[in-house]
Symmetry: D2
Subunit: 263 residues, 4 copies
């Protein structure tokens, strides 16, 4: 066994925080200097990006995080958390199972949309026309992430989020290129179609995350933080209603039997 205790300490090396007895520093800032003066959203930024944001950046991020907190018990993540909490586990376990469902299909559209917008913006920076870049990039997708909704004809969260991005761009807080790219995607998707494919909440929040410079995987991470609020609220409500072992449908409804699918 040739390893040393230093190797063990290095195995868990981190720049996120420094811990010593009596000391908790987050990205170099003593935690006591944050308590009471720095908001939760700015702290999210500090921990994930390494330094505190401009307050106007934090405000734009905060709007995106508020917008996505909940979308009702028809969303698998919410339903799962509600069912889990009736099974005799803690609220943390119920939240965990809800968050666990925020995968590529349920919670990943924001991440994929940031990638898509980044690619369009990069192509523009490299000299391609916006229209051309949009056409090529969306041509790769069967479902263009961040656009279209099976429930809302117009998502009520789209316009207020884009208005805030526009204001931030006007104020010089962000460059506005990703917002412009997203609107160009929306136009391209809707040209010549009977049923529109409008930007959805994943698209509108992706615009914000991309404008603020978050790497794509953090778009999913931020969505997790946001949706955890709704997951908690629903799990808590369910736990106060007293059901035990809640299934997906009332016990009086029996699932259809499909027969032997290998027959």
């Amino acid at each position: 066994m040739n390893a040393t205790v230093s190797d063990v300490a290095d195995w868990w090396a981190t720049g996120v925080c420094r811990m010593e007895p009596g000391v908790v520093e987050l990205r170099g800032i003593p935690v006591q200097d944050l308590i009471g003066s720095t908001g939760l959203v700015a702290t999210v930024w500090l921990l994930t990006r390494g330094a505190l944001p401009d307050p106007r950046e934090a405000a734009l991020l905060e709007a995106a995080l508020v917008a996505a907190v909940d979308h009702g018990p028809q969303a698998p993540s919410i339903a799962i958390a509600r069912m889990t909490v009736t099974c005799g586990v803690g609220l943390n376990n119920a939240i965990a199972s809800g968050v666990n469902a925020l995968g590529d299909v349920h919670g990943g559209a924001g991440e994929q949309c940031v990638e898509l917008l980044n690619e369009i913006v990069q192509r523009e920076a490299d000299g391609q026309s916006l229209t051309g870049a949009v056409a090529e990039v969306i041509g790769k997708h069967r479902y263009v992430p961040g656009f279209g909704h099976r429930f809302h004809p117009v998502d009520p969260r789209r316009d207020p989020l884009l208005a805030l991005v526009d204001q931030a761009a006007a104020d010089g807080v962000v460059a506005g290129r990703h917002a412009r790219a997203a609107r160009a995607v929306e136009t391209a998707l809707n040209t010549g179609r009977a049923k529109p494919v409008p930007m959805n909440i994943d698209g509108a929040t992706a615009v914000i995350y991309a404008e603020l410079g978050f790497p794509p995987p953090l778009a999913r991470g931020l969505f997790v933080l946001s949706r955890s609020v709704g997951i908690l609220a629903h799990a808590w409500e369910e736990s106060t209603q007293g059901r035990r072992n809640k299934g997906p449908i009332p016990p009086a409804v029996l699932p259809t039997y499909l027969g032997d699918p290998t027959g």
Copy 2:
């Protein structure tokens, strides 16, 4: 099968949000009225409590949520998330497993401390002396939740949080009874002991949650929201470091073999 579609709709009844095509209302407020004007912490309060808080209540809650975001990779929740993200799953899965560990022992002290403080305050309201109430209530516990720390001799987060509670009490935002109870517990625990058992982060945040009227299980829920920030930041950092299948210790260190424990 006697159930109706209404029974199915009722099975998933909720007061947290109202969803219709084009409509997302959170506790009766259209989501578009929150975006850009309401903070994330006030939205947490809205969803879990049913109405928006006073801004000074939200500020006090925000301080507690900021204080607990991270305590380093020695905490099981953080280490678990870091290890999980190296195994080829999404950030959401890594966060889920971290949150899943915030059980009665790791994340539950806040919940238990709110219960303990509520009981002391109730006993006082019923006419018992504070000293008597504290003695009886802490006598029930082997580990008094919210007090003592195996790492910090003095937790750097305790004093700034209590100072904010005191200010809120002076301003009439909270009553201050739970803070008084918590200090009385600390005094009782430290009387006649060589090694102090100071209030820790779970205790200091429990004071705030209790003063603000959160039911005990929500203390754990709020801790989950707070610690999720650190879990995300650590999982993200780990994912950028490139390890695959990270175990708890470097591969060169082999776990001790205990022999046949049944022998």
Copy 3:
């Protein structure tokens, strides 16, 4: 930093397996000596109990594990796994969230029933009458774990499991005391009641686990292993059906809105 590398190795000490380059021993047996000659259920016993079982003990355990593999998509664990797998995560994540729901209420009845049967058997060993022991022990419970079912008037798994226990008792493989205790509980619960409260699958498997000497928490662990089979089968079936983001009810059914529950 006073710790040594030995302290680190001891931190992860285990008697379950010994690992060295080229060596994998399970409870002292080289893994290559198990492959092809020892069954999976005997291996479960080996790892959890420390030594291989008698083949007749393994057969009884195997019957209990087979009996509980599935109870359909109305069970929260199964529904959760099916919903999760449509959200863009791996089968392992879907199974994890299903298993996460096997808590005190959904998967814990077996554990609680083993405790209850152990207590009755202990009271008998201490000289109390069986009838008296049963009456006192079941009097502590609002729901007697392992008895009663909201779906099956008679659980089809009860009789074959009890017949196997009886045979094992006749063969001297087990003592038969827990089976006798469980039948006495059933008799006591059904005396003078219009609607019977028969032993259910948790009760019948708890009899087996208790007769075989598994500590109560392992009853839950064994149920997890068993139900994981059904969870996998359902998640896999769902993943072949092509739904994305499957919610608990069809999108055309909207959850009932409860209004402001704080109003």
Copy 4:
């Protein structure tokens, strides 16, 4: 709301089991006909494949499932379960978090190796030479899944598993094409290399799963069932050792602080 209760029943349609009051049928077989006569591994096959296996197929599958039950606490899945169970949650929650880590990198090599072997076998069936097929297929991978091990120079589980496959091929139970392909991959990888890249446990079990006709994603599912046994045993052992909030390293070892990584 135009949906009917039939739509709701169809939303949860399944061919895995048929449930009615008093009835539990698994893939068309009443559960009581399985209890006591059908093994757990044959039941795994029944539920995932739709019909019972030949006993020699079940025996081969059983060997693969036994081989992979445990690989010690240095594996993230095992360490995570052990840490989680010290945090005040149930054994089911600890197992869930262990299983959650069996992602593309930790538990997915088997799935990827089945895909790789299937492709080689298909290319051979289409007329390509085995050597040519192997060269083209392994050329696509940086890490060839199922081959190489950072710990074992020779994995002790490889030879006994391949011997069982060879016997099954000699007996006409399986065709033996995937075993031949896997050995050809091993030869190709080791030609001209100082350090060998031998077939590992994921490769050897993938040969069996592929020979038995399991679709690739089920290879991961089967590994989850197998490793859950070890995860349970380790979580249970840890829970009897009494640690609370177990971190990855002893408290006396502090993680190295990396400084501000953005600086």
